[in-house]
Symmetry: C2
């Protein structure tokens, strides 16, 4: 099959990293360049010059087109798939032209800065029967896939309860990057709740389904943040007021009837693992732990199971071998590479806009009960 | 000092065990007989004959008095301390005469079958300035005491969050003892919520204080129970309807400002430990695990802490040496022996009726939010 022709929106002229522009380098460029299933044919930034600078910086072929606005890349007939990898505030505005041009569209999670934006994109894409992807890449993590397989196969019987303790480490909990202050703003839609906790909840919905009833308690343990210049380490603002919560405890009964507790906290130090997700059933129990960043797909992961047949909990192998062009992708792009590999093979487990919208709606219910709506 | 003269209500003519009558043998008789601080001087059962049978069975001195009703033992001027160790349904009725007779009074947890009963006993005891004890013996567990000391000393800085996963094992979660069917009845006040979860919450209140806001979700994963005859193993009732919850997830913000999640579940099998209690702070994190029955004081316990000075979490020693008459007490009486030893030394950490009432009130708030009030 001919490779999918990709246009990337938001590719920085920079090395791979986690910040704006650099994420597309680390995850998308790293995934597409070695893959036989994709070919980068266009780059769009805030100006044609900026896009051309990225094309040159990354030594992309001279045939790659440079665009300065989302309409132009959307209307390039040579582009099959538009990849939107920019700040969430602009997702809707930048993705909509690609949807209207009937492209395949990838948008990073969160799909919209709010649910209304996600609804419009999803509705338009559905009406045009478009293939879409949301960048909730933890869902494609091989350990998570194995975890779900075990649950679905009835390895622990009927699921009765689940408990999640998620304690990500982004540096000291009272300090944040000055150039990403939107992350401290609840209304931005791109904060600790919508991004970090949201990524986890996508996998939760995928493995266990939605909540029938839901309650939530949020807390700000660090309402006043130190903002630092990430390049110089200098404190730019010693007392920046945060409106987003940094602790979010969620509980409820799932549509399946199981009871659930999903907690997000920011300890100063961590005795255990970054993520401990336990699923208990009538016939056994299974636990997934991740130590390190959750969704990117490089961290230490372990699945342990205990059923009536096991004297002790036993470790389950979840490793799968992938083609070299996927295996070769480095941190933090591993699960993005797996996501696009699965998409190229028509794998139905790849999250689409409808999954993203469902997640937006769940987060809204959670925030509402916590008094943050 | 002269030993405290004890009258026990509810001492069975039986060996030590966990059931009615047998608990007083396993915990109270085992604690008082070897202790230089106590002397058993009276036993009260439902009849004088039954009490005398217990005195004879346990080879207590012939001077020990046998009583057939709680008024008579309460009015024996030779009794200093009345120990009430019977089914919770009768706690109020049986303890009240001892309170009215101005005795020292011990009542097993739960103090009352409901909060009104606990309120009356507490009010009467307070008005008469009585010394009282509630049998929430996990509070006196040496590992718990060390855990609290570390928190109070600021070892992890300011407490920001706490998470508890409590998964007790009482046999298969869908089966229960026919002679303790009251345990399946929410209204009895002596069920899985009030007894098992209540014992844990006493220690929670002791270590971290009360909740400012509270939310709770309860669930019955096993609404229909098999009742078995514990002596024959025979199924007495294959489909007994349960009204008590078997899964209870609680969350809220504490008066201290920290956020809390306390979950009780009944997995078919357990990958981890019976109890995992994590307390996170601005400067570190500490975790207490218990593997096996919680409050009795014999189970495997471990405390691990990580602060900025530790490269890895380290294990904290919590063992303390106790006098031989305490150390010698066997399962399940260990923490009961420690409780009475502490009481004999005037230790203020021994839970009294006011602590019991506070716990009743917390459980009421939890049940109310869960729709079980």
């Amino acid at each position: 099959m001919a490779p999918v022709k990709v246009g990337i929106i938001g590719l920085g002229a920079t090395g791979p990293a986690l910040g704006p522009g650099a994420w597309a380098v680390a995850a998308h460029l790293a995934s597409f360049v070695p893959s036989p299933h994709y070919e980068i044919v266009a780059v769009c930034n805030s100006s044609v010059e900026s896009a051309q600078r990225s094309i040159d910086f990354h030594k992309l072929p001279s045939t790659v087109k440079a665009y300065g606005n989302p309409e132009d890349i959307a209307n390039d007939p040579n582009v099959d798939l538009v990849v939107v990898s920019i700040i969430v505030t602009n997702h809707h505005k930048v993705a909509k032209p690609a949807v209207l041009a009937n492209k395949q569209v990838f948008v990073e999670w969160p799909l919209g800065a709010n649910t209304a934006e996600a609804e419009e994109l999803t509705k338009l894409a559905k009406e045009a029967n478009l293939k879409t992807i949301v960048g909730s890449q933890f869902r494609i993590d091989p350990a998570l896939i194995k975890f779900k397989e075990l649950i679905d196969s009835g390895a622990i019987g009927k699921v009765t309860s689940t408990q999640v303790q998620y304690s990500p480490f982004f540096g000291p909990p009272g300090t944040w990057m000055a150039d990403a202050a939107y992350y401290l703003d609840f209304k931005s839609g791109g904060n600790e709740f919508h991004i970090a906790f949201g990524h986890f909840f996508d996998s939760f919905l995928y493995v266990l389904g939605d909540f029938a009833t839901i309650k939530a308690t949020f807390s700000q343990q660090y309402p006043i943040m130190k903002l630092v210049n990430t390049k110089t380490g200098e404190i730019v603002d010693p007392a920046f007021p945060k409106t987003a919560p940094d602790h979010m405890f969620v509980q409820g009964v799932l549509e399946s009837g199981a009871i659930a507790s999903v907690n997000y906290n920011r300890p100063g130090e961590l005795v255990g693992k970054t993520l401990r997700w336990t699923i208990s059933g009538t016939e056994g129990e299974i636990e997934l732990t991740v130590n390190g960043a959750l969704q990117m797909g490089h961290s230490e992961r372990e699945i342990r199971i205990k059923t009536g047949e096991d004297k002790e909990a036993r470790v389950v192998d979840w490793q799968v071998s992938m083609p070299a062009h996927v295996e070769g992708v480095q941190f933090p792009g591993q699960n993005t590479a797996r996501l696009f590999e699965a998409y190229a093979h028509g794998d139905k487990s790849v999250p689409d806009f409808e999954d993203g919208l469902r997640l937006h709606r769940l987060l809204d219910r959670i925030a509402k009960d916590a008094g943050y709506a």
